[in-house]
Amino acid sequence: MRRIRDAIFSDRLRTVGAFAAIALVLWFLWPRPDAGKPAHKQVLTFWRAGTMQDAFLEAIERFEHDNPDIEVIVGNAAIRNATDDPQRFLTGVAGGVPPDVIYFDRYAVAEWASRGAFEALDGYLDADLAAVRDIEQQLSDARGRQDHAAAEQLASQLAARKATLLDPADFFPATWNEARYDRDGDGRAEQYGIPATTDDRALYYNESRLKQDGFVDEQGNARPPRTWAEVLTKRVETTAIVEKMDSRVVNEEKLVCPDVDLLAAGVEEGDHLSLHTGGVLRVATVRRVVSPHELVMIAKGSLPAAAYEGGTHCKIFDGQGYLVKLSRWDRQGRLWRIGLAPVSNKAGNSWLYLFGWQNGGRFMTEDGRTCTLDDPRIVGALDWLVDCYDALGGYAAVAAMESGYQGGWLDPFIQDKVAMRIDGNDFLNVIAQYRRQMDFGVAPAPMPAERLAAGVEPISWMGGYAYAIPSTARNKDAAWRLVRWMASPEAQMMQERMRRDIALSQGQLFVPGLNPRKMVNDAFERTFVNGGAPLPKRYAAAYTVFRDLLPRAYHRPVTPVGQLLWMEHRRATERALTHDATPADALDRGTRVVQAQLERVFAPPPGAPVRWSVILIAYAAALALTAAGIVGHAFRRSRTKGYFRRQWYAGWAAATPWMIGFIVFVGGPMVFSLVMSFTQYDVLNAAHWAGLANYRELAGDPLFYKSLYNTAFMALGVPLGIVAGLALAMLLDANVRGLSTYRTLFYLPAIVPAVAASILWLWVFHPTGGLVNTVLGAIGMNDWLVRWGLDAPLKWLQTEGLAKPALLIMGLWGAGASMLIWLAGLKSVPEELYEAASIDGAGPLRRFLYVTLPMLTPYIFFNLIMGTIGVFQIFTQAYIMTEGGPNDATMFYAYNLFNQAFRYLRMGYASALAWVLFAIIMILTLIQLKTSKRWVHYAND
């Protein structure tokens, strides 16, 4: 026993040394961001998504130079896009430590302002204006007094003040008003953001393609379409019957239309047909009209068999329209060039919003209380869009064609694969960068002819960013100074000039952006379009088109449900274009969804406010009672003394850290979360009781079911992982030479950090450059995939049907972790059992089935349970790789919960989700436990 005492003594030094070393390491490595910074400086945080451009950083540096008392920390705060992904910003607002200034998409400002996330800026605007008035007054006084020295000083002061004065009258109204919202409902809107940038949309056209197809004016210049009718005119829509013809011309077919008079409808040779049968769309050209009810056509590609059997839905379009004539199909009927894809991500950037406005539609009523997405004029616009896509051969055909293209050099417009596109002015820079010499032109997007006839001038759609100050920001006054500077004409000019310098130094053309302030915009035009190195005429003309459209540009409705309206209007468009619903039905459904949300927003809080103190006291009382019960009971029952009593105290003391942790971070939160699931709570405003509303909403939420389905799909990975791991383990169990090397190689993928692995697999699954697709391409699989009706090269993470399998494959890469468990399991199978089985004449397969597998069932069981729980936690991959998309295909349970909680701040609803998850896991585990008795064999049973 001496040895123990000696050991204790000599250990002491080492222990102290070890802890000192740890403390030293921590002291060195712990981040101390503010160390060495002068104390008098105010620190401002400025968030802006994306890459920090030099020009932007320089403007900030200039601000710091002019305001020595302020230091600005600029960062993108790991946000991809502040609007689509406001989670980090909102968590910051909720946590009370938001950035001081944020650069935010203007259309979303109102939505978060309505929730109290932004500070109203009217006070600052008024104060600045008052200060200017004050100096003006003093100046006129000084002039009156003939005090020239004071007047001069005041005049320069006034000039400096005026340089950063924000006057709403200077701004294009649409840019200013988009960030105005009446939060308190007093009929007077407040300003929540200062417009920073703007853009608008117009039609780009490829002059060569237009000339090639004869769309020219008298001088032989390309002539863009001005009306919807010029783009596409539908002659007739009817149900028809296709008949096979005994013709020498391939694909020549007869079409019988009993219900309409083709000649009266003006159908003629060269007209364009779209045929819709059994979910398949094909296009065809009219060869000749035989009789009022019969025509001969040449189909592009072969028609599906169903086309010859029943009625075919058929639309006949004027073959001379821009859209039809500029489009090209190859012999298989595949789209090869698109004339115009009006609503498209890749072949342009315009949405139903623009076409609805063009047709005179409104998406919200004036008072902002009613959603009018189903306005007949919007339905009319969507009808026309559906016709456009049908004429092209269907939405899927367009998507398939576009998917081969990307941005930049591989843009379809630059590659001549799209003859016209509706896009923002930014696209000018893409052309300038990647195909400077291109023959292109820009014109206002075509309008409905009757609206033009009624004297409406072509309109556009304006978007852009704004500077905003979060409501819980700490240095609001300094933040306002920064906003004022960043929005000032000088800062805007400075940034634009620097952008030009950089572009020119890289040998590129520079087309300036559009500015929300008219005078700045004029200065841009003077300096960067006409002055200095003037832009080529083509670009200057295009810039002028965009500039002239600015005063007639519309902005998205300012509403607290802006994002939902945006999502739903896109969803309705997609449903109509894919013939999932008629335009009217699709828009109607969207309207109902948005309206329901609107009503929820404007409805008063449902129940009484939650008094957390009561719940806290109740929790504390319950804990105290339990503790008192246990302790009291023990003291009454047992009269232990001395060592055993000391053991009590030691036990309690030793378990205390865990108990505190349990009370504060497990038990308390459980109670808290259960209570919250019955409330409506967004952290920014007080919680209100909501009864079962959250659970009811959950039961009717399609996203909840979809996330459950997605998660269940991923549960396939559990047995797959078990099989893969077991297979590897069986191979390694054979005591081969180099076992540990193999083991290491198989196991390594399992320890790659999830973030790193996600980024790696994002690249592995990249459609054009990724490992999987290049290997598939190299072994000639792409042709086969196309033959099997798949769209090759596969868009793994961008296709709804492939995204989850892709993540499963990625999961299998980490099967090495379970392999280690199986290895241990296999080692634990007694050798005698195998010998006995061999003696009984069992071959390897039988030995595996009747010895190995039963002996491994405890491991399988354990892995099944842990795997199931793990599936419900899948988050990082989905967050980094797919953001839950495409079309919510990777919206897993944990991700949905995270979004509800930290992206939409719906803490009550998210808590309800959490408790449902808890229940599901409990039930699954219970089922597994119950059934396990039947198939799990424990060795000692």
Binding site: I4, I22, L29, W30, P31, P33, T51, M52, L57, N76, A78, T91, G95, G96, D330, R331, W336, Q437, R497, Q506, G507, A650, A654, A655, P657, W658, F662, P669, M670, S673, V683, L745, Y747, L748, P749, I751, V752, P753, A757, I759, L760, L762, W763, L820, I821, L823, G825, L826, E831, P858, F861, F862, Q873, F875, Y879, L897, F898, A914, L917, M922
Partner: protein, 558 residues
């Protein structure tokens, strides 16, 4: 099952294992390979695990034959047919190109240049024409005459010829002006060669007036260009020096010095001619007072050289660009390191790594101490409420993290710990149910003799825990430490929720930030991912025993 395999089976087994190991390692190889590529290489058609070898050519300008090695086959042709018609069709294109003419100021071999341009143009042609039309051989000539344009040739040319061009540099001053140096002089006259293996020729490249640098390392291992100019502002008023150049992808090293008034500044990091596009190389005088490591700094620092300079002409400054020949090995190193350098210039990866290491250390220490203490109480001590609490502990194993996530956030906010590192380590101070459970099972199995002996010697409970229990469960503690390491290092959701000051990020969030900054630049993303993965792999190799043990331990308890 042991050692019963006959040699052929064994061979087959090895074959399967090697194939499997290759398959599992493939993404790693892909990751490492990509991290050394530039964007152009990444989009090459075909499977490329390895980056192209850098070619430190002695002479520049030169013709790069690697961009378009072979004219690809059109989709509509079968292999055999293509071999028959290839010559005929390509000859038509070649004629057309020769008819249009190629501008060749670099003095490259015209025949080889035309061949490379042909390959590049052909690729472009396949993009633009309807490939079916190529089968109509009779009409190929008019088709090609209509398709192949001078514009197409001009687009291909920069991809096949490599040249080093220098345009006039500019200076950004402390009062936010941009000053072009020696504005008005031809760029070729700006620089004066100081060695005879280099000369400058006037050239207009991509619409820019510049000097084409012709050099030849066979005639000397170094060359140098120098410019003596009027100083636009005093040296300490220069915020940034911008050298506009198109590089020739030879991966030779170069260095820039700026001298004025007896002072000398020199580029602090190795620079290389690695690019092919026009770019601005930014050089910024290093000022410790203004240095913020958390901001992106896409420039190269200029450091003051203590020795000073002999150049002290009043009102003048001297810029020197001196290039050194790279050996193939040096070129490889420069190329391999390029993306890692750029990534850590965008995001302070090393600082984030330090934060992660600190968190890992703290988490491990706290987790091991608190868990083992609680486990000791549950395993070896008799106290009222123990069994009840143990059941509670087992129950918490079942609670999914999501249930406590939201209240956890609100509690942390209430404690004022939002946007601090506390939420990332405080939890460990209370132990985890899982480790407590695991340790308890092991402590249960320890015989009581040792404990009794220590007690007789006068040890208290704390000492028994520290001196008897902990040493005996060391392997389990090691496994727990390993798990805590992995969990902390890899944790992404917690920092995502709790941190918004970029100066506090751990590496996981830092890597994600890199992704939000660089977006589509996968080469740099791979470099970042590797930086995050290597420590884990390193720890794995040192603590492999405990990894395996830990995994096995946790897997067994059914």
């Amino acid at each position: 099952m042991i050692n019963k395999h006959r040699p052929p089976t064994r061979l087959l087994l090895h074959a399967v294992l090697i194939a499997g190991a290759l398959l599992f390692s493939l993404p790693f190889a892909w990751m490492i390979g990509t991290s050394m590529m530039d964007e152009r290489e990444m989009l090459r058609p075909g499977v490329h695990l390895l980056p192209e070898a850098p070619e430190p050519r002695a002479r520049s300008p030169y013709l790069d034959t690697s961009a378009f090695p072979e004219p690809p086959k059109p989709r509509v042709f079968m292999e055999a047919n293509w071999n028959i018609y290839k010559g005929q069709i390509l000859a038509v294109v070649r004629d057309r190109i020769e008819q249009l003419g190629i501008d060749n100021p670099d003095g490259l071999d015209p025949d080889r240049l035309t061949t490379q341009v042909l390959h590049g143009v052909w690729l472009r042609v396949l993009d633009v024409v309807q490939q079916e039309k190529l089968r109509d051989l009779a009409n190929v000539i008019p088709l090609m005459n209509a398709t192949v344009t001078p514009e197409m040739i001009n687009e291909v040319l920069p991809q096949v010829r490599r040249r080093l061009c220098l345009a006039l540099p500019s200076v950004r001053t402390a009062d936010f002006r941009h000053v072009d140096l020696a504005a008005g002089t031809p760029a070729a006259d700006f620089w004066q060669p100081t060695s005879d293996n280099v000369r400058l020729e006037p050239l207009v490249d991509d619409g820019r007036d510049c000097g084409l640098v012709r050099y030849d390392f066979d005639r000397g291992e170094r060359w140098q260009l120098q410019a003596v100019i009027d100083r636009p502002v005093p040296l300490d008023q220069i915020r940034m020096l911008a050298l506009a150049m198109r590089q020739d992808e030879t991966w030779h090293g170069y260095e820039v010095t700026v001298e004025a008034g007896g002072q000398m500044w020199r580029s602090a990091e190795p620079l290389h001619f690695g690019g092919t596009q026009w770019q601005e190389v930014l050089l910024k005088p290093y000022d410790p007072a203004r240095y913020d490591p958390y901001q992106p700094h896409p420039w190269t620092w200029l450091e003051q050289v203590a020795a000073g300079s002999t150049f002290s002409e009043p009102g003048k400054m001297r810029i020197t660009l001196s290039a050194t020949k790279s050996s193939p090995l040096a070129a490889w190193y420069a190329k391999a390191a390029a993306n890692y350098r750029l990534a850590s210039k965008q995001v302070p990866m090393w600082r984030y790594a330090a934060t992660s290491v600190a968190l890992v250390v703290l988490n491990i220490v706290l987790m091991v101490l608190s868990s083992s203490l609680a486990a000791y109480a549950f395993a070896r001590l008799q106290w009222p409420g123990r069994d009840f609490l143990f059941v509670l502990l087992l129950a918490t194993l079942m609670i999914p993290q999501q249930v406590t996530l939201i209240p956890g956030f609100i509690i942390m906010k209430w404690l004022g710990w939002y946007n601090t590192l506390n939420p990332l380590w405080v939890g460990a101070a209370f132990g985890s149910a899982f480790s407590i459970f695991l340790l308890r099972q092991f402590m249960k199995g320890i015989p009581t003799d040792l404990e009794d002996a220590a007690r007789i010697d006068g040890c208290g409970f704390l000492r028994i825990w520290w001196h008897i229990m902990l040493p005996l469960v060391k392997p389990t503690l090691a496994a727990i430490a390993v798990f805590t390491f992995i969990a902390t290092w890899n944790d992404f959701m917690t920092p995502l929720i709790y941190l918004n000051d970029q100066r506090l990020y751990p590496l996981s969030l830092g890597l994600f930030q890199l992704q939000t900054v660089l977006g589509q630049n996968y080469a740099m993303m791979m470099a970042g991912s590797i930086m995050m993965t290597i420590p884990v792999i390193g720890v794995f190799f040192f603590a492999q025993k405990y990894f395996v043990q830990g995994i096995t331990l946790t897997g067994i308890k059914g």
